[in-house]
Amino acid sequence: MSKVVLENIGKTFENAFEILREISVTFDQESVNFIIGRSGAGKTTLIRILLGLTSPTVGRVLFNDIDITSLSRSEIARYRRSVGIVLQDPSLIPNRSIFDNVAMPLWVRGLRSKEIRHRVERCLNVVGLDSVKDLYPVRLSTGEQQRVSIARAIAHRPKLLVADEPTGNMDNQLSLEVRSLFDMFPELGTTVIVATHEPELTENMKHVFELKDGTMQRVAPQASTADSTSSNQ
C-alpha cells in the first residue's frame, strides 16, 4: 500500500512565473492515476516534485505520511528506491545489455545475483521482451525501449510508479499497449501516476486529474469523494 498526498503544492520559478498553485490531491491507492494537461501546463514540474527532484515553493508531498519535501538528499535517494520511474526518454544505457539496464535498480539495492536474474527475467516477461535480454538498446525499437524502461521501473517492486509522458514518442497503438502494461501494476499493489498530454490514453480510466492554469481538477470519476479534490478549496 502506498498513499500519495499533495498538500497545497505551489511552485513559482525564479522568473516569478507561477506554474503550480494550491494543488491538494490524494491519489487513489493501488490504481492508475492519470494527470492530463497541455504541454507547459506543469505536469513535468509536478512529477519532479513528486520524485524529489525539485522542491515546491509551498506545500508538502506526503508518501505514506512522510513529507518527502523535508527529507535530506540521502533520504530522498532512499525514497526513490521505493519508486519506479518512467520518462518520455527511456534513458537506457547504450553500452549495457537489456538485462543490465533492467538490473540497475537491483544493483543499487544489493540483491543476490540469483535474485536479480530471476526478477529481471520476470519483468522482461511481463513487458513481453524476455527474448531480448542479451541485446543492446540500439537493437530495439522506441516502443520496445520504453517497455524495457518500464521493466526497469518495476524490477524492484516499487510501491509507487511515476511516469512522465511515457508514450510521448509513440503512435496510438503503441501508446495503448504501454497503457495496458500500467493497468497490470495496481494488482501488484503499486500505485501508478502517469502524466500525459494525450487525453485518448485516459479513455475509460477511473482516476484522471486535469492540470490547467496551475491548478488540478479531478475529472474522472466525478469529484464526489472528499479527499481527492481540486486546489481551490
Partner: protein, 321 residues
C-alpha cells in the same frame, strides 16, 4: 519543522547487501579498467614513474647515510712522529690521547715494527738492508668512538699536532663533511621531489577518474533517478582510483628493483676498483609494501576529490537529473 527519515527497505538493509553493493562496484571498476586497458596501462606507468623517482632518491639517500656511517665508524687518526722522537715524548702524546673521551683504543707502532710490517707486505728485504738508517717513523693508531662529531675530531687533531715531536696527523674530515652535505641535499631533494610527484600522482588519478565520470554521465543520471546515493555513485570511481594507485605502486616497485638490478654489477666493479666492498640498501618487503600502499592512498585521494567535486558540480546544475 523536524526532519523526517525514510524507512530502509527490508531487502536492502542486510550487511550482505552492503557487501554485494561494494563487490558490484569493485567489479564495475575492474571492468572499466579492463575495457580501457591501454589507458589503464599508461596511467599505471605514469604513476609508477612518478613514484619510482622519490623512491630512488630515498634509496640513494639511505645508501649515502649508511656509507657515511660505515666510513665514519671505521675512522681513526694516525699520529706520525719525527724520527728523532724519544719514547718518553711519544708516551706523553699517548697519555694526552687516552684522556680524550672520543678515543676508543690506541695502538703504538715503533719504527722497527713499521719496518718489519713494510718488509712483510712488500717483500723488499735486500733493498731496505742497504739503507743506513730506518726511514719509517713511529706512530700511534687511534680508533675513535662511533658517532663523534667532526668538530670534536678536528679539535683533537689540532691539539695533537701542537706537540713538537709530532710530524703529522693523518685525518681528513673534509670528505666526510662532503658526504654529509650530499646526504642533506639528496634528503631535501627527496622530500621536494616526493611532494611534487605525490601531487602528480593525485593529479593523474584525478584526471583519469574525471574522464571515467564523464564517460558514465548518462548512467550516473539514471542511477541517481532510481535511488542511488551519492556514496553509491562515487564508489566505483574511488575503487578505480585505488586500483590506479595500487597498480602504479606495483610498477614503481618493479622499476626500482629493475634499476637496482641494472646498476648492481657496475657499482660492484667500481667499488672493487677502490679495494672495497659495498652492500646496497635495497627495497625490502616492508618498504615495497609502503610504496604500494602510498600509491594506493594517493590514488584514493585523487579519486575521492574528483568524484566528490564532479558529482556535486553536476548536481548543482541539476544536470544529473
Amino acid at each position: 519543522m523536524s526532519r523526517q527519515t525514510f524507512p530502509v527497505q527490508t531487502d536492502s538493509m542486510s550487511r550482505g547487501s552492503n557487501l554485494r553493493i561494494r563487490a558490484h562496484s569493485l567489479l564495475e571498476s575492474v571492468q572499466h579498467l579492463s575495457r580501457h586497458a591501454l589507458v589503464t596501462l599508461l596511467v599505471w606507468l605514469l604513476i609508477g614513474v612518478a613514484l619510482s623517482l622519490p623512491t630512488g632518491l630515498w634509496l640513494v639517500q639511505h645508501n649515502i647515510h649508511r656509507l657515511a656511517q660505515q666510513l665514519h665508524d671505521d675512522t681513526g687518526l694516525t699520529v706520525y712522529f719525527l724520527p728523532t722522537s724519544l719514547s718518553k715524548e711519544i708516551e706523553e702524546v699517548r697519555k694526552h690521547l687516552v684522556q680524550s673521551t672520543i678515543v676508543q683504543t690506541i695502538e703504538m707502532t715503533s719504527s722497527e715494527q713499521a719496518m718489519e710490517e713494510f718488509q712483510r707486505v712488500t717483500g723488499y728485504d735486500q733493498e731496505l738492508l742497504a739503507l743506513d738508517e730506518n726511514p719509517l717513523p713511529a706512530s700511534l693508531s687511534v680508533v675513535l668512538q662511533p658517532d663523534v662529531p667532526a668538530t670534536d675530531i678536528e679539535a683533537l687533531v689540532t691539539s695533537v699536532s701542537n706537540y713538537a715531536t709530532v710530524d703529522s696527523v693523518d685525518f681528513d674530515t673534509e670528505w666526510i663533511r662532503n658526504l654529509n652535505a650530499i646526504h642533506q641535499v639528496v634528503s631535501t631533494l627527496m622530500w621536494i621531489v616526493g611532494a611534487l610527484f605525490g601531487f602528480g600522482v593525485v593529479f593523474v588519478t584525478f584526471a583519469s577518474v574525471r574522464l571515467a565520470i564523464e564517460s558514465k554521465f548518462r548512467e550516473l543520471r539514471v542511477l541517481s533517478l532510481i535511488g542511488a546515493s551519492d556514496r553509491y555513485l562515487r564508489r566505483p570511481f574511488i575503487y578505480c582510483g585505488i586500483l590506479y594507485g595500487f597498480g602504479g605502486g606495483v610498477v614503481a616497485t618493479a622499476i626500482v628493483f629493475g634499476a637496482l638490478f641494472a646498476i648492481k654489477d657496475p657499482l660492484h666493479q667500481l667499488v672493487q676498483g677502490y679495494g672495497g666492498t659495498i652492500h646496497l640498501v635495497s627495497l625490502n618487503y616492508f618498504s615495497a609494501s609502503v610504496e604500494i600502499a602510498l600509491g594506493t592512498l594517493l590514488g584514493y585521494l585523487g579519486a575521492l576529490f574528483v568524484s566528490i567535486s564532479e558529482i556535486q558540480k553536476r548536481r548543482t546544475f541539476e544536470s544529473i537529473h
